[in-house]
Each structure stands twice: as structure tokens, then as C-alpha cells.
């Protein structure tokens, strides 16, 4: 059976369309989820897309965390459902305490939009098993508040337990601590990433097709999970 992958649209989401397209290109069914509707429509996994949910009011992701659909996603994620948060989605995952730390204003205060080289350091998650350890990938990064921060103990713990999924290479675009671009939960089912894999899935529109692996990884992961 084709995997069903939900993509949440919040007011202010921008990249929900690209995320759905990436899911379809990987061979799964993309299921639109609406922020105000507490329904998951039997999805096997969820992508929280990039954008500016609720206008980034208060803090990025702070209000989205309380959207009716998020309560279901948080409890399903705690029960093992894979969730990928991209950019604003990563901010929402931190605000929802599914991932530790927070994302704050870029150190240099500028919005950064460029193609960014990353190194995959945790290829054993539901979203990164298509990559090899240390593989370098090129993805667009575009954020104003993408600087990952956490207290030193949390950073040491993430590092020691292999939960830093990807690091920025050849220049850190936002001052993120320890060059962190992506992290995961202990189980490897929940991943938050600042750069945009869903924008790098086709030669025509992306700087590479390196991002497609996030979505094919999920399909591979789901086939190994008893339903």
C-alpha cells in the first residue's frame, strides 16, 4: 500500500506545496492537513513545512504549536510516528518540545538565502537512511531565525548521542551553535532541519536533487515498520 504522508498547512505556511510535491516524487501519497482541523486522516508520517506560521507572531512556531492538529501530531510523534520539521517546522518542533533547544534570530541579523553544503552525520533516522555517514549534500537555506541554540549540556548530549543529524559546511549561514543544521529525537523518528530538502528534489528547480533522500528514506523506513 502507498504510504500516506501528511503536510500541515498553517496560516502563513509557504512550502507546503513543495513538500507535497517532494513526497509524490518519492512515490508516496501526499495528504493535506489543515491546522484548524484535529484530524490526521490516517497518515503514516507528517511533514511540518517552512514558512511563517501565524505571521511568526510572539516567536516563530510559538502559536502554531497550539493549533488543533498539533496536539494529535505531538502525541502520535511520541508514539513513534515519523515527523519532519523543515525551517518553520523545525521551530515548531522545538516549541512543542519534541526536540530540545530553540531557533533564534540569525547572529548577523540578515535573512540568508543561498545554496548550502551540509554534512549528514546521523544517517540512521527515519528521514536520513538513504544517505551515507558523512555524505555532503547541497540544499537551499533561507531563514531569518535559524540560529540553533541550547544550553551547553544539551549540546554535549546531542553530540555524544549522535543526535546532530546534519552540520553546516563551508560557512555557517546563521551562527547556529556547533554548526547545527538538523537534529533528531532519540528514536530517530522526529527530525528538525533548517535548510530545505523539499526544494532540492528536481534538476530543473533545485541546486541538486540531494533533498529527495529525506522522502525516500521515510518510505524505506515505513516498509520496515509493522503496521
Amino acid at each position: 500500500m502507498t504510504a500516506r504522508v501528511g503536510v500541515v498547512t498553517f496560516p502563513g505556511s509557504l512550502d507546503d506545496g513543495d513538500a507535497m510535491r517532494a513526497i509524490r516524487l518519492a512515490g508516496a501519497e501526499a495528504v493535506p492537513l489543515w491546522h484548524a482541523e484535529a484530524k490526521l486522516h490516517q497518515v503514516d508520517a507528517v511533514v511540518l513545512p517552512g514558512g511563517f506560521s501565524y505571521g511568526d507572531y510572539l516567536r516563530c512556531g510559538a502559536i502554531a504549536r497550539f493549533a488543533p492538529v498539533m496536539g494529535l501530531i505531538v502525541s502520535a510523534a511520541r508514539d513513534g510516528m515519523p515527523v519532519l520539521g523543515i525551517c518553520n517546522g523545525f521551530q515548531i518542533l522545538c516549541e512543542a518540545h519534541l526536540l530540545p533547544g530553540a531557533l533564534v534570530r540569525n547572529e548577523h541579523l540578515h535573512f540568508r538565502n543561498r545554496d548550502q553544503l551540509l554534512r549528514v552525520d546521523s544517517p540512521d533516522t527515519a528521514w536520513t537512511n538513504a544517505y551515507t555517514d558523512g555524505q555532503e549534500i547541497l540544499l537551499p537555506v533561507k531563514n531569518g531565525e535559524g540560529r540553533y541554540v541550547a544550553d551547553p549540556r544539551t549540546l554535549d548530549e546531542l553530540s555524544a548521542s549522535g543526535r546532530i543529524v546534519a552540520r553546516y559546511l563551508r560557512g555557517n549561514p546563521n551562527g547556529s551553535l556547533r554548526d547545527i543544521a538538523a537534529i533528531r529525537n532519540e528514536a530517530g523518528t522526529v527530525v528538525g532541519i533548517m535548510p530545505h530538502p523539499e526544494h532540492a528534489v528536481e534538476e530543473l528547480t533545485g541546486p541538486s536533487t540531494d533533498g529527495l533522500g529525506f522522502f525516500t528514506s521515510l518510505l524505506k523506513y515505513l516498509t520496515g515498520v509493522p503496521s
Binding site: 516567536r59 510559538a62 502559536i63 533564534v104 540569525n106 547572529e107 541579523l109 541554540v149 551562527g175
Partner: protein
Amino acid sequence: MARVVVDVMLKPEILDPAGQAVVNALPRLGVSDVASVRIGKRIEIEFAGDSEPDVERAKEIADKLLANPVIEDFTVRVEE
């Protein structure tokens, strides 16, 4: 009507680049003796009805939504 005021500040150890940008702009005003500026948020809450402002509930609101305890501290006070 009495209101509850919540002040939210970035924790001291969290870099505030917006505050630094203000420090860097001050010499243009002829001010050169400011060592640090940190920018926070002031949030005013008014509860419905005539009841006394509920500081405990305001604290709960601040802790759950208005501030992110990972990066921010907050104080709650009643303003007459």
C-alpha cells in the same frame, strides 16, 4: 481596570544581535558610553470581568506561551 504586565527577556547567556545593532547605532546619535542594550517584550494582559487580576494564571500563560523558557526569562506584575 487592573492589568497584568509580563516582561519577557532573552536569558543573559543568549546573544541578542538586535540589541547589539542598537549599541552599534548609538554613536551616530553622539552616544558612545553605552556598553550593552538588550531588547525584550512587554505584554499586557487584561482579564474579562471585574475580578482581581489573576497573577497565578498570568504566570501560567507566560510560562506556556508568552515566553520560551529555553531562551527567555519572564516577570509578572500587576499594574494599577
